[in-house]
Structure formats: C-alpha cells, structure tokens
C-alpha cells in the first residue's frame, strides 16, 4: 500500500497527514483530522452535506481525493463560527428557523458563505440557484432562503471584509 503525505491548511491551521491516495477528502477530514462538521449524506455527489470551501470554491468533499487538495486552504463550518461567536449566517439560520434536524446545515452554510462572497447582494432567485447543490429534507428551503437573505442584509449593513471580495459576472 502506497501512502503519501499531504499538507493542508484547514480553518487557518497547517496540518500534515499521511494517507492513501484513494482516500476521499471527506474521510480524511472526519476520520483523520476529527473535523466532523462536514457530513456524509449521500456519498454520491448529490446532497451537498459534505460541502467545504477549498481555495475559494465550494466543493463536495465526498467527490475529491484528499491528494487533490494538497497545498490548499480549506474552510469548513468549524472555521466560520463557534458556539461562543456564531457566524452571521449561523445567527440568521437560528433566527429564521433555517434548520430542523440540522444535518444539511454545515454544508448549506458553508455554501451560502461562498455565495455571499461572490454575490453580496443576491436576489431570492440567486440564493435558490446558488444553493441548488445542497439538499434539505426537512425545511422545504423557505426558511433557509430567508436566513441567507437576512445574512446578506446584515453583512451589507455591517462590515465584513470578506463580503466584497468577488462579484459574480
């Protein structure tokens, strides 16, 4: 069995881990690095529960070999906020009841975070289109969309230096 050592920056921390090339990023994050925010829902690239941010792109971590992320900066839900200091999206999901069982939420928020960075002022349609790769079996999406729109308003009113980085064409 050939193994290889990869370096990642996960949520601002440099990590080095030795893995088999066939290990999927989601398994490396959850089983080797104990980062269990990103979930495994379908394992077939459809549900988006495993979404993480890699170098500014939302990626389904169940459909990427960890070796493909060598040298990348990865942000998971753990890197966005924590129980003592919720990210504005987390606050708004709480406020607007954007989650029920919560299984889809880490992926949903990680994706919504990237969406708002690219398009800080999305319409309702932009939000629905932008989170189309994330499935939720509980909420019916209404409250998720409300929460993302509310977060966008709050970010625009307040100052989040991230929020102005990129605008979708």
């Amino acid at each position: 069995m050939t193994t290889t050592t990869i370096n990642l920056n996960v949520n601002g921390k440099s990590v080095e881990t030795t893995i088999e090339p066939r290990e999927l990023l989601i398994h490396v994050l959850r089983d080797r690095l104990d980062i269990t925010g990103p979930h495994i829902g379908c394992e077939t690239s459809h549900c988006g529960a495993c979404t993480v941010d890699i170098d500014g792109r939302s990626v389904k971590a169940c459909t990427l070999f960890a070796v493909q992320a060598q040298g990348s900066e990865i942000t998971t839900i753990e890197g966005l906020g924590d129980p003592d200091k919720l990210h504005v999206l987390q606050e708004q999901f709480k406020e607007h009841h954007g989650l029920q069982c919560g299984f889809c939420t880490p992926g949903m928020i990680t994706r919504a975070h990237r969406l708002l960075q690219e398009n800080p002022n999305p319409s309702e349609e932009d939000v629905r289109f932008g989170i189309a790769g994330n499935l939720c079996r509980c909420t019916g999406y209404q409250n998720i969309v409300k929460a993302v729109l509310a977060a966008a308003r709050e970010i625009n009113g307040a100052t989040d230096k991230d929020a102005t980085r990129e605008t979708a064409a």
Binding site: T4, R22, K60, T63, L64, R111, L115, F129
Partner: protein, 286 residues
C-alpha cells in the same frame, strides 16, 4: 463507496504528463476535476492503477480570444467559463450551457476538458462543441494533432482520443447572432433528458437566415450534429413551417433509448419541444 487503490502522480507540465502516460500505458488514467471519474471509481466501474492529475499544469488553464477565435485550456472549470466576461459577450451560449451543468459545486470542479473527453452522452459540452464546430487539440507521444468535435465521438465512452493522448485545448470561432441552449432535466444537478444547442444568424436583409447550426445531447450514444436541419433553416429561413420541418429532421436523426429518464416516445417528444423552443429563442435573439 471507497475507490480501489491507485498510485497518484502530479506532473507539472503537459510533456511530463504525456511521458507518464506513455510509460504507464493502459493502467493509467488522466484526472481533471474528477467529477465524472471519481463517481465511477467509487462504484468500481473504473479501477485505474495510476492517476495522472493535471491540476498542477498551469499551461492547461486559460481562456484567450484572439482574431475571432476562442482558445480554452482543458483544465478551465465550468465556473471559470461562466465568469469570463469577454467570453460571455463573444460566445454567450457557453455561459448559458455551463449554467445548466450540474449544480454550483459541480461547476467549480468540473473542467471543459474532462467534460468533452469523458465521452458520456449525458455531458452537455460535446453537443455544444459540435454546434460551435470546435476543434480539439490532442498531445501524445507522437506529437500534437487536431480533431474536429464533429468527428471526435464514436460511441458512448469511445472517442477519437488515443489512450496515450491528453486533450490540451479546445478552439472555436466567436459566434455573433442568436443562440440558445435548452435542456430538459428531471431536477437541478441532473443530466439532460434531452438538450439542444442552436446558433442562428440573420442575413443582411433582416429576414433570411444566413447561418444555422443545431446539435443535440443525450439522445443517442454520441452527440448529434443535425446537419440537414441546419441546412434547411439556412435554405428556407426561419418561419413556423421551416421550424417544424427542422424539428422533424432533428428527431429523425436521434436514437434515444428507454431508461430511467423515460421511454423512447417521451424522449422524442421532449426533444422536439426543446428543439422548437431553442430555435425560436435563438431566432428572437438574432
């Protein structure tokens, strides 16, 4: 859903990648975004012993528009195609099509090279490339050669690309005029039940049709360039009667099969609807 074992290679030039492919032969596969290959490997439908990842090869990542010709590097992602302002202006059908592929996460990762090289009839780019009359550039141990998109697809997963070749870039002319990519799918993130790419141009008199090109996706085991229908619109102009004749000609050239997206009759019906819609929409944009 764990893929089989393989050895991973990360060359940093196209030459090094071709050399590796030459050395490892049939046991090796190229890895681009991985969003077609990894799902196959998880199902163990593909079990390559070596993967040659192209991600470090910067020479394969570019979009250039020079003297009316667009050149796109194989490792350009669908997301990058969508966000390229000049491309969106010069060849808007690329953006329109890319936005209908998969979902946002898929588009950040999937590359145009992987999409056209894959050979899956469900992929959207091959039909579009036939519509645009694109040319694929392939590099192998014996050097470089070019193959027209309209000659590239032989059967499902069989293409004119030799196992030892890497598809390096794609080029096509800028396309002024009307355009439409219409896709019928069961839900977001699904492959097409039927899709049609249409390009139309109006003649100087503002009435006649000076150029037409129609291609269809997932309605046979390769994409279908509907040459007769395209010629028909050029000869007869675009009106209700010629549209119906062109649609009938397109339907005669496809060979859909019964599967989980529906029976043959339904697919022909869906194909006729989207083709009619695409022609009308493209003509209204001329």
């Amino acid at each position: 859903m764990i893929p089989g074992t393989f050895e991973y290679h990360q060359p940093d030039s196209v030459q090094a990648a071709v050399a590796l492919l030459d050395e490892l032969g049939d046991d090796a596969r190229v890895l681009a975004g991985g969003h077609s290959l990894i799902p196959m490997m998880k199902l163990r439908l593909a079990m390559p012993e070596h993967l040659i990842d192209l991600r470090r090869i910067d020479d394969l990542k570019f979009i250039r528009i020079e003297s009316g010709v667009v050149h796109v590097g194989a490792m350009t992602t669908q997301h990058e195609l969508i966000n390229h302002a000049e491309l969106a202006q010069q060849v808007p059908i690329i953006r329109e099509t890319s936005l209908q592929i998969g979902d946002p996460q898929i588009r950040y990762q999937g590359t145009i090279g992987g999409n056209v090289a894959n050979g899956d009839p469900g992929n959207d780019m091959p039909g579009l490339m036939q519509c645009l009359d694109a040319t694929f550039t392939l590099l192998g141990p014996d050097g470089e050669r070019k193959v027209a998109a309209r000659e590239f697809y032989e059967a499902a997963y069989f293409t004119a690309r030799d196992d030892l070749e890497i598809l390096t870039s794609i080029s096509f002319a800028v396309s002024p005029g009307g355009y439409a990519y219409e896709k019928q799918k069961r839900k977001i993130g699904d492959y097409a039940t039927a899709a049609a790419a249409v390009l139309l141009r109006k003649a100087g008199d503002g009435v006649a049709c000076s150029f037409a090109s129609i291609a269809m996706t997932n309605l046979a085991d390769t994409p279908i360039h509907c040459e007769a229908a395209s010629q028909l619109l050029q000869d007869q102009g675009v009106n209700d009667a010629s549209i119906e004749a062109a649609v009938a000609s397109c339907i005669a050239s496809i060979e859909p099969v019964d599967d989980n997206r529906g029976p043959v009759d339904f697919k022909k019906h869906a194909a006729a609807q989207i083709t009619r819609r695409a022609i009308k929409s493209a003509w209204s944009r001329t």
